[in-house]
């Protein structure tokens, strides 16, 4: 599929952000989204489905999302499609956690 993820050769991308002494993850949520994906793919859906799920992001969102924002989107999409969790449960839990804060 010729989607926004097919980036090889795209023009006008600018300089590559090379970081010195880069941490493996920039934040705790990024580490967690990776770990939760790693723990679910293979057990509940194949790893290739995870990549495909991020490619199913609407193109404009795909291009403006960060790497782990795409992983988070893919994780949510797959755990809801595979009925491990419902979207309503996610929204409800977010509201609850925001209130507890």
């Amino acid at each position: 599929m010729n989607g926004p993820h097919d980036m090889g050769g795209m023009h006008n991308m600018g300089p590559i952000p090379i970081e010195a002494d880069e941490p493996v993850f920039h934040s705790e949520w990024e580490a967690k989204v990776f770990a939760m994906s790693f723990a679910t793919f293979g057990n509940y859906f194949p790893v290739d489905e995870t990549r495909h799920a991020s490619e199913r992001m609407p193109p404009a969102q795909y291009l403006s999302a960060s790497y782990y924002e795409r992983w988070l989107y893919a994780l949510e999409l797959l755990i809801t499609e595979h009925q491990l969790v419902t979207q309503a449960e996610i929204e409800e839990r977010m509201a609850q956690l925001a209130q507890d804060r």
Binding site: G9, M10, M13, E22, H26, A39, E55, L72, V85, L97
Partner: protein, 207 residues
Amino acid sequence: MPSNYPGFKHGADREAVSAARVKALESLLIEKGIITGNTVDSVLGHFETKMGPFNGAKLVARAWVDPDFKQLLLADCNAACEQMDFPAGMSGAEGEHMRIAENTPEVHNVIVCTLCSCYPWPTLGLPPYWFKDPTFRARVAREPRVVLSEFGVELDDSVEIRVWDTSAQIRWWVLPMRPAGTENMSEAELAALLTPEAMMGVAQVSV
């Protein structure tokens, strides 16, 4: 060239929104028994101690000192892994079909996943952020010599550059050239010279 005009910006709460979603997902997945409270630590620990560039470094160092092993590594990377004292699962997630491309005085290899971030986890661990960045994914396919120069790799014009699109089918990595002046080094000393960048093709090995 694109403009620098800052007319469009993500909201200042962008990070907080993702953090809150992740917190909700984590709490739901634990509650449903899909993950446990230890899952995050155990996955991260796996990449710190079992799957990382320390494995790739051992393979390359052995290939530098043992020509038969080098032939095996080039012909069948996964079979070469099996000869090492590596943890189980080296041919598992993201390591099912790994291949290594050999740098020579005439040919320099570099890897990219233009579609996302396929990478040989068992030998190199998790890729750096720039590897997953659209700028690298797009540009190294079009102008590898310029990109390599931005990483500090200046190649003579006579050196052919081969760009390998590492993918879900084959996960590529690079066998760097052994630097001069390392003739008396042990395998362990050689392994210590290797960096993930050298095994991706965006750095040379130096002593």
